[in-house]
Symmetry: C2
């Protein structure tokens, strides 16, 4: 939305970009030329960098802040396709598939990005095929990641999916605090739900159960992992887990006192 006039000098941009793995080994002159064709854009929290369906004329290189990329269903339901932090390129699909943006990018915290016009980037890649290969790597890794998520949503229970999402967020965007590992990106329960293909109610219930168990610390748009290993166990464990119980109703400790030990599937013995 805000356009032009950096807030950063071209020289600084040059420093930042040349620090990214994507551009390693690229002559500064070429980089400078590329930057020169781009525009820096600021984007306050909550605002969209681009909208699903918009014609795409280039890509964004995220310089600062966090952005979530969401796909919206006709019914208004959303799914978070990707969460991006500094250094990550956005809008690649539209750029290379030569289509409108297939999803919207919304700043979750104040963000800054360098916009690069498609033609400029294309020319740059033709002159620097090694960068094209690195972009191929980026896309390959995202495809891999998306396949993994597809697998999870297809065959895992929500509980395990949520645990995995938290573990992943913590490892990608986590910061150590004295309480535990905090997720740096501010995400609402609803956004978390959109990350694991469920509803905010379900996320809320699960998180609170885990909080009661002392595994996490909850706040508004804030989650701290106090016992990451417990979540990892939940996320990966092959065998039926024990601590948390049913989703609705009874809290930990209550419930039909009979057959509280899982593990031997009830009603399977006879």
């Amino acid at each position: 939305m805000e356009q032009r006039r950096p807030g950063t000098t071209e020289g600084e941009l040059l420093e930042v970009l040349s620090g990214y793995p994507l551009f390693r080994g690229v002559p500064r002159e070429s980089l400078r030329a590329l930057i020169h064709m781009g525009v820096e854009r600021k984007c306050p929290a909550g605002r969209f960098l681009f909208l699903e369906g918009d014609p795409a004329e280039g890509v964004y290189l995220l310089l600062e802040g966090y952005v979530k990329v969401v796909q919206t269903d006709v019914s208004g339901q959303e799914v978070v396709a990707q969460v991006a932090g500094p250094g990550e390129p956005l809008g690649l699909i539209a750029m290379f598939a030569d289509s409108p943006y297939p999803a919207s990018a919304q700043a979750v915290s104040p963000a800054r990005a360098l916009w690069l016009p498609g033609e400029a980037l294309r020319g740059f890649l033709l002159r620097h095929p090694e960068v094209a290969l690195r972009l191929l790597r980026v896309l390959a890794e995202r495809l891999h990641e998306t396949h993994r998520r597809l697998l999870e949503v297809s065959i895992l229970r929500v509980e395990r999916r949520l645990a995995r999402v938290l573990v992943r967020l913590a490892s990608r965007l986590g910061q150590r605090t004295e309480e535990g590992i905090a997720v740096a990106m501010p995400l609402s329960r609803e956004e978390l739900a959109e990350l694991c293909g469920t509803r905010l109610h379900t996320v809320s219930r699960l998180l609170n159960r885990w909080q009661r168990a002392g595994w996490v610390r909850l706040g508004r748009r804030r989650i701290v992992l106090r016992e990451p290993h417990a979540l990892v166990a939940l996320a990966e464990e092959l065998e039926p887990r024990e601590p948390p119980l049913a989703l609705t109703g009874r809290k930990v400790g209550e419930g039909k006192t009979v057959d509280d030990r899982r593990g031997t599937r009830p009603g399977r013995t006879e």
Copy 2:
């Protein structure tokens, strides 16, 4: 598995490859050199071209037949990540992300593929960056497709997902017959289930209901769409549909007679 000795001459291969969009405009000399570094491999139905976890030393270019790419969960559950036909490259993720194969590729019908060693392809791409750009397009499109599937599995009911899968298969691999549009690729109910993130039982029930409605014709590993538009309606329709009803028990026409008309969401008017 079977190695070397084409079954096709190098000249024929050259013809085939230069017909693929991927290699359009590439000088025949370069192509010939590339082919020369590759190996043709045959793969009977049911056999794997490569296995998840195998170290990847190159990519496959599918020349003939159909291949399904499956990811397997620790518990043995499978999800079909992709179905590929002639002309499609396989193993791209492993190649560019520089990792072992993240999924297994199994021939669904007898297949033939050209194996290209990674280093050869990499060198080729550095010399022909325009081909790298086309590969970027391939990956971008697959990523787009996978995002769409993720959205669907996350928020759509099985019924609608299955309808979409069928419509998509019909449009990508369909062949007109006097009965309707037949899906060219032989897929079992279970494989269909793995394509839409459900179980074979659910697929079977839905398909049979649709067969009773006259929308499809079923066979062993075979499906013919007789009323594609009905399926498209089911797949896209925004409003609650009418024909098919609950999954278990009661057949079409039975059921609690009260409140059978859907459409006005109960309890939302006040």
